[in-house]
């Protein structure tokens, strides 16, 4: 007996439980039951979220304005197929984020910091904070443009954005936060409605699928268009957000398949709605793109109203408000994940503000700073909005390189590490993004410094 007793292993002690664990466990119990019961649609409903939010969050104010501006200045050619191609690239990047988050249960910032050293972690966080701050200013500008259509001022845009951030904090549950933002994000479809309202010629949309005609104009303008359009589809905050949200949601390796559906659905929806904004903007092409530069006023929606009617202008204005609002929530969240991860503080929506003060303070704080910028009289809001995507494109390759490294790290990922084919595509994406961003940055600098003409 004594011998047999000696061979019995003591039961594994459960780890100490926190309220965050309890909240996540509650969400996971529903996933567990749906899986056990074979309820496929229920399982899909429970597991979608981070991918759609990352993709539709990136269909933000400056992105939709960039797509519409492309349409207004160059028409449908080239951009109708280019936007889906970019979202296919975004899928490759975001699928890696989801996979790493589901396998390691950790965010991007903390993994880079712990795995590759604090210098790289803090560099990544600094990149993110800079690009997020600039982008958030552009989001508030987007809301302001939309509200100006309804004769409402900048102060209303600021209050609306900040109240939304605080409203989504209530509850201390990731699930609740995700579903509120997901519900709002679906209104990104307003851009598709706007496209339908301008009554586009379907033949011209189909005819644009062969990437022609190629946009004309100067080489620098072309680089700006490409760089800002890339920045409208793949950005550093998406990497931090989707990995952090996947871990916060409690995804596991068993959920990777559904995570791929989620990410793919987000990419498809974002591409459709992005093309919708492009088509709506193209209605202004034959009218000289009138009014599209009016970022401080109602600008684009009013120009659309004159050309395509009040309904199209109203829907586009509402779309801009939605795009800015959703992006404020997701981009602020990515900042909060990064900041709290890098200092080792609690970083979950499954906590209350008293338990994760830094996480919630960073979330609200960066939104507050951005909001205050748009209240500064004479602030260069147009220039900030136009440069937000470009800056994100320039800084993106470093974050992407670390993402590829993490996804290839067999010590972390085991058999879920990248396959060779994924690596080939991922490296090509990093090279393409790096080339386009740096080409625009260098060419613009040389032109501005009068080194070249």
């Amino acid at each position: 007996m004594a011998g047999s007793q000696a061979t019995v292993s003591p039961p594994l002690q459960p780890p100490p439980l926190t309220e965050e664990d309890a909240a996540r466990s509650s969400d996971r119990s529903r996933v567990h039951l749906a899986r056990l019961g074979g309820r496929r649609w229920s399982l899909l409903w429970l597991l979608v979220g981070p991918g759609i939010l990352a993709m539709l969050g990136e269909n933000d104010g400056p992105s939709m304005i960039a797509y519409a501006s492309d349409g207004a200045q160059y028409g449908l050619g080239f951009f109708v197929p280019f936007i889906p191609v970019l979202f296919a690239m975004a899928y490759v990047c975001q699928e890696m984020c989801m996979r790493v988050g589901a396998v390691t249960h950790r965010g991007f910032g903390e993994l880079v910091l712990q795995r590759y050293g604090s210098v790289w972690g803090w560099f990544a966080a600094a990149d993110l904070t800079l690009t997020n701050l600039v982008t958030l200013v552009a989001e508030f500008v987007s809301i302001r443009v939309g509200l100006a259509y309804f004769h409402l001022g900048a102060l209303v845009a600021v209050v609306l954005g900040l109240v939304l951030v605080v409203f989504t904090f209530s509850g201390g549950r990731y699930w609740r936060w995700e579903r509120i933002v997901l519900g709002m994000a679906l209104f990104n479809g307003l851009f598709l409605v706007a496209a339908i309202l301008v009554k586009p010629h379907l033949g011209s949309i189909a005819g644009a699928l062969d990437f022609s005609p190629f946009p004309g104009g100067s080489f620098n303008t072309l680089l700006l268009l490409v760089a800002s359009t890339i920045g409208a589809t793949v950005t550093p905050w998406m990497i931090f957000f989707q990995q952090g949200a996947s871990a916060d949601k409690g995804m596991t390796p068993r959920d990777i398949g559904h995570g791929r559906y989620d990410t793919a659905a987000g990419a498809v929806l974002a591409a459709i709605f992005g093309v919708g904004a492009l088509v709506a903007g193209a209605a202004l092409l034959t009218h000289g793109g009138a009014g599209i530069q009016g970022f401080t006023g109602a600008g684009f929606p009013q120009a659309l109203r004159r050309v395509a009617g009040g309904a199209a202008g109203t829907v586009f204005a509402l779309g801009l408000i939605e795009a800015g609002a959703v992006a404020i929530l997701t981009i602020s969240a990515s900042t909060a994940y990064a900041a709290a991860e890098c200092v080792g503080a609690a970083h979950s929506f499954n906590t209350f503000p008293r338990e994760a003060a830094l996480f919630y303070a960073a979330n609200f704080g960066i939104a507050l700073v951005a909001a205050l910028v748009i209240l500064i009289p004479g602030a260069p809001l147009l220039a900030i909005t136009l440069n937000a995507n470009v800056l994100a494109t320039v800084l993106l390759p470093v974050s992407l390189a670390f993402m590829v490294m993490l996804a290839n790290d067999k010590g972390l990922m085991g058999r879920f590490a990248n396959h060779r084919s994924t690596n080939v595509i991922a490296v090509a994406v990093v090279a393409f993004v790096g080339l386009c961003g740096s080409a625009y940055g260098i060419d613009s600098f040389l032109l501005t410094a009068h080194v070249i003409r």
């Binding site: 309220e19 119990s29 249960h105 590759y116 068993r254 800056l391 010590g411 740096s438 600098f445």
Partner: protein, 87 residues
């Protein structure tokens, strides 16, 4: 880290076929044991422990620094252009 007394343990196990990929560094033990529907390395206590530092080759470190310096330089150019356009 605040713990809660209201949580009851409900040990459970996912059906056959569940898998696990992370080994070692993330604290995974290769099993699919669930405690309160969470994997063992999913608890806050587990994720609070840092993952081991990876050893990068000199070539990788050089490449990363090269990419970083290049990104900072191009960013500076974009910021310079941005400021110059404001004038």
């Amino acid at each position: 880290m605040k713990t809660t007394a209201s949580v009851r343990e409900q040990p459970g196990r996912e059906p056959a076929g569940s898998d696990r990929g992370a080994q070692g560094a993330a604290g995974a033990d290769g099993e699919d044991e669930l405690i309160m529907h969470l994997e063992r390395d999913q608890f806050v206590a587990a994720t609070s422990r840092p993952v081991p530092r990876a050893k990068l080759s000199h070539r990788s470190v050089l490449a990363l620094w090269g990419l970083r310096v290049f990104a900072v330089m191009v960013s500076a150019m974009v910021v310079y252009t941005f400021i110059a356009q404001l004038r």
